[in-house]
C-alpha cells in the first residue's frame, strides 16, 4: 500500500463505513473505485482481507461487473457500440480502425494514458448506427475514415 499513501486513510474510512454489514462488498468496491479511479490490486487484496472474503471471489466480483476497472483509465474514454444494429452497420470495422489507430485492443489504455478503448451495448441511437461515444460526446454514422479526425479533437493541447 506504500504507493497510495494519501488514499490509505480514505480507504480505511470507506471500509469502516461498511464494517459488519453483510453484502457490502459491491458498495465498498464502488467507493474504492471512486477514490482511485480504478481498483488497484493491493486495494482489492485489502478489501478481501477486511471483509474476510476469499481474494479469488472478490476478484470474481470485480471482473463480473462491467462497472469495475482493474486498470487505470485514460483521460478519454472511447466506447464503441457493439449492439446488433451497430454491428450490422459496420461497428466492427470502426472498432478495428480505432484499435489500429491507437495501437490498443478493446479494454486497453494507450501508453500515454490519453485514451481507453471500451465497448457498450446500445446507446439508444440506433438510427445513427454505427455509434461511438468519446467521453460525453456522441458520434453517429461513423466510418473508419472519420476516426482519425474524431480522435484528433481529443489530442489538442498535447
Amino acid at each position: 500500500m506504500e504507493n497510495c499513501c494519501c488514499g490509505e486513510s480514505k480507504l480505511s474510512g470507506i471500509l469502516a463505513r461498511y464494517q459488519g454489514q453483510d453484502g457490502a462488498l459491491i458498495k465498498a468496491l464502488q467507493d474504492a473505485q471512486g477514490l482511485y479511479g480504478y481498483l488497484p490490486e493491493e486495494v482489492l487484496a485489502r478489501i478481501a482481507d477486511y471483509f474476510d472474503h476469499p481474494y479469488s471471489q472478490v476478484y470474481g466480483v470485480a471482473t463480473f461487473y462491467a462497472q469495475f476497472r482493474l486498470k487505470p483509465r485514460g483521460e478519454n474514454l472511447i466506447r464503441v457500440c457493439t449492439g446488433t444494429v451497430c454491428h450490422i452497420m459496420g461497428g466492427p470495422q470502426v472498432l478495428a480502425k480505432i484499435s489500429e489507430e491507437l495501437n490498443i485492443s478493446l479494454g486497453e489504455t494507450t501508453e500515454d494514458n490519453k485514451f481507453t478503448l471500451g465497448s457498450a451495448v446500445c446507446f439508444g441511437a440506433c438510427s445513427q448506427a454505427p455509434v461511438i461515444m468519446v467521453n460525453d460526446d456522441i458520434y453517429g454514422r461513423v466510418t473508419p475514415e472519420r476516426i482519425a479526425a474524431i480522435l484528433a479533437r481529443y489530442c489538442t493541447g498535447v
Binding site: 482489492l44 476469499p54 479469488s56 471471489q57 476478484y59 461487473y65
Partner: protein, 574 residues
C-alpha cells in the same frame, strides 16, 4: 416426521420421502438421468442443464438434480422436448471443447466423453472456435488446462466449501467466464494447498496432476541408477480400482509383485516410516506434555494441511509437529542409513514414492527437503499414475503373483497401515503412547472413537490417570472449525490429527476416480481389515524401527532424527 410424496415418473407411480430430488427419485426405479455438473452434497447447483426433464404443468423444463418432488408431480425424463434440450446443451459444450481426446490425460475416464457417448451424440452441430486458453503449469502438483474446462464449477465448490481454501473462483462473465485464481495467476501464486480435491472431481481433462511418469521411466532405464519405490499405506486399498478391481480390494502383495516386474530395484513400504513417525511424534507429544510445551500438538503428515496452516493460520505453526511426513522421512533414510548400510552411492539412488496425493509432489519439491544432502524424494506418483505405470510396463495385472516388500523397510505394522484413513495416525499414536506411558501391554487396540468418515471426531483417553482429549479432523473446512475453536478457546485438546482430504488419504486428491463417499468407505474398511490381519499392530513393535534406532538414529528426537526426520515451517501469503 418426513412426509411421503406421491409422484409418477415416465408413467410409473412411486412414493418417496419429502425432500427427494427428481434425479434421486428416478434412480430409485432404475431410471438414470444424465448429469454433468452434479456432485452429491458438494455441487448441487443445476448449472449445466444436462439433467433437464419435463414436468407436467411446468412452464419450462426443470433441472432434475436440484428440483425436489412435490405431491402429484408427473415427470417425463425422456420426452422429445427434454432429450432435445439435453442434446443441445451437450452440443454447445462440445462445440468449444478441444477434440484431442486421443492424447488427453483423461483418455479413458472422461465424464464428458462418456456422457456424449451415452447420449448418442455423433455429430457436433456448431462450428464454434475451440477454447484456447493458457495452461497453468506453475506448480509441481496440479496442471490446469482451462481450455478443457466446461464450467461445471465442481472444483470451485470443492475448493470453497469442502476445503475453504478458495484459491479458485469464477472470473469474468458471459462467454468470457473462466475458472481461475485472483488476477488469473498460476496456482503457485495463490493460496492453493495442492490437495487435488479439484482434480479428483473434475469431469474432464481441465484439472490433472502433473505427471512424473516420464522422469520415473528415465531413471528405471538408467543402468547407473538404483531406483527404489515406497508405497503409501492408502494406495494398497485403492490401486486395484485403476486395474479393474472392486473398491476396497486389498492389493498389497500384487502391487509389490507388479512393481518388481516394472523394474524397481527395491520395493519398500511407507508403513515403515509411518511407524517411525509415530515414534518421533509420540515422543514429541510426551515431551510437550511433560515439559509444558505448546499444546495441542497437531500432526504434520498431510502436506496439503501443512500448506493450509502455513497460509491461513500461521499462529498455529508452533503447534504443528516438527516431524516430516512419512514420505519425506523415507527419502531421507534411504539416502543416508540405507545407502551406508548397503554401500550404495546416494548420488545414484533415485527415490520414487507412490502416494494417494497431489500435495506430496509439492512437498517433495519444498526446498528444505534435502537433509540427506540430496533431494529426499526424487519423484512422486499418484495412485492413478502408478496404475498407468503398471499398464505402460505391459504388466498383466491378472497374472501377477503376490510378492513381499523388500527388507530392510518391508516391515510395517497395522498402526502404519491405518495412517491411510482419517483417525489412523491418532489411533496409531495412542497405541504406542499407551504402552510407552503405562509400561503395560495394551489389550484393546481399537480406538473406535477416532475412526470413520465423520468430519470431526473427538475422544478422551486416560493414560496413567491423566485424561487426554484428542480430536481428528479431515477435510480442511473441518480443520478450520477446529482451529477457530482452539483460537476462541471454545475447544481444548492435547493432540489433534488433521488430514487435508475428506476421509484422509483414502480420499486423497491422487486417488482413483471417482472417489465417492461409498468408495471411500470401502477403502477405509479395507485399511482396518488389513490392520486386523497383521501380527504386529503397534509402531514400536516394528523390528525394522527398533533396528534403525539401535544402529543409526539411537533415540527418538535424538540428534540424527532432528537433522533427518524433522523440519520447520514457513508462514505464507494468502
Amino acid at each position: 416426521m418426513t412426509m411421503s410424496i406421491n409422484i409418477a415418473i415416465n408413467g410409473q407411480k412411486l412414493t418417496v420421502p419429502e425432500g427427494t430430488t427428481i434425479l434421486e427419485a428416478a434412480k430409485q426405479i432404475g431410471i438414470e438421468i444424465p448429469t454433468l455438473c452434479h456432485l452429491k452434497d458438494t455441487n448441487e447447483i443445476g448449472v449445466c442443464r444436462v439433467c433437464v426433464v419435463e414436468v407436467k404443468g411446468a412452464r419450462n423444463l426443470v433441472p432434475s438434480c436440484i428440483t425436489k418432488v412435490t405431491e402429484g408431480m408427473e415427470i417425463t425424463t425422456n420426452s422429445p422436448k427434454a432429450r432435445k434440450a439435453r442434446e443441445m446443451v451437450m452440443n454447445l459444450i462440445l462445440a468449444t471443447h478441444p477434440k484431442d481426446c486421443l492424447t488427453c490425460d483423461r483418455n479413458g475416464d472422461c465424464e464428458l466423453r462418456t456422457l456424449a457417448d451415452k447420449m448418442g451424440i455423433r455429430k457436433i452441430d456448431f462450428g464454434a472456435p475451440v477454447k484456447d486458453l493458457p495452461l497453468d503449469d506453475s506448480n509441481p502438483s496440479i496442471i490446469r488446462d482451462s481450455s478443457k474446462c466446461i464450467l461445471c464449477r465442481r472444483c470451485v465448490s470443492v475448493c470453497n466449501e469442502v476445503q475453504k481454501v478458495s484459491a479458485i473462483g469464477l472470473i469474468n462473465r458471459g462467454i468470457g467466464t473462466t475458472v481461475g485464481t485472483a488476477f488469473d495467476r498460476g496456482l503457485a501464486d495463490s493460496p492453493c494447498v495442492f490437495c487435488g480435491q479439484c482434480v479428483s472431481v473434475c469431469p474432464t481433462g481441465a484439472l490433472t496432476e502433473r505427471f512424473n511418469l516420464r522422469e520415473v521411466w528415465q531413471a528405471l532405464n538408467d543402468p547407473d541408477k538404483h531406483v527404489v519405490i515406497q508405497t503409501a499405506p492408502a494406495i494398497r486399498v485403492s490401486l486395484g480400482e485403476e486395474l479393474g478391481e472392486e473398491p476396497g480390494t486389498i492389493v498389497t502383495g500384487k502391487m509389490v509383485g507388479a512393481l518388481r516386474k516394472v523394474g524397481f530395484d527395491k520395493v519398500f513400504d511407507t508403513d515403515f516410516t509411518a511407524d517411525l513417525t509415530i515414534m518421533e511424534e509420540g515422543h514429541e507429544f510426551l515431551q510437550r506434555l511433560t515439559e509444558k510445551g505448546k499444546l495441542p500438538l497437531i500432526t504434520s503428515c498431510s502436506p496439503g494441511w501443512v500448506k493450509y496452516v502455513e497460509t491461513f493460520y500461521p499462529e498455529f505453526l508452533d503447534n504443528v509437529s516438527s516431524c516430516k511426513s512419512p514420505q519425506q522421512m523415507f527419502g531421507a533414510i534411504i539416502k543416508t542409513y540405507y545407502a551406508e548400510k548397503y554401500k550404495i552411492d546416494p548420488a545414484k539412488i533415485y527415490t520414487v514414492s507412490a502416494m494417494p496425493c497431489t500435495a506430496k509432489k509439492f512437498e517433495a519439491n519444498r526446498p528444505e527437503m534435502n537433509s540427506s544432502g540430496y533431494r529426499d524424494v526424487d519423484a512422486v506418483l499418484t495412485t492413478r499414475e502408478l496404475g498407468l505405470l503398471i499398464k505402460e510396463a505391459g504388466v498383466d495385472w491378472a497374472s501377477v503373483e503376490d510378492s513381499q516388500f523388500d527388507q530392510p523397510f518391508g516391515e510395517g505394522t497395522g498402526a502404519g497401515i491405518i495412517f491411510g484413513s482419517s483417525g489412523g495416525v491418532m489411533e496409531a499414536a495412542l497405541r504406542t503412547l499407551s504402552e510407552v506411558v503405562t509400561g503395560k501391554e495394551l489389550k484393546n487396540l481399537d480406538f473406535k472413537g477416532v475412526r470413520g468418515l465423520e468430519g470431526i471426531k473427538e475422544a478422551e483417553v486416560t493414560l496413567n490417570g491423566q485424561t487426554l482429549r484428542v480430536a481428528v479432523a479431515n477435510g480442511l473446512a473441518n480443520a478450520k472449525k477446529v482451529l477457530d475453536g482452539l483460537k476462541n478457546k471454545e475447544l481444548d485438546y492435547h493432540f489433534v490429527e488433521i488430514m487435508a482430504c475428506p476421509g484422509g488419504c483414502i480420499g486423497g486428491g491422487g486417488q482413483p476416480r471417482p472417489s465417492t463417499p461409498d468408495t471411500k468407505q470401502k477403502r477405509m474398511e479395507a485399511t482396518y481389515r488389513a490392520d486386523k490381519g497383521l501380527p504386529r499392530r503397534k509402531s514400536h513393535e516394528n523390528p525394522a524401527v527398533q533396528e534403525i534406532y539401535k544402529e543409526f538414529l539411537k533415540k527418538p528426537l535424538g540428534e540424527k532424527s532432528h537433522h533427518l526426520l524433522h523440519t520447520s515451517y514457513t508462514p505464507r501469503n494468502k
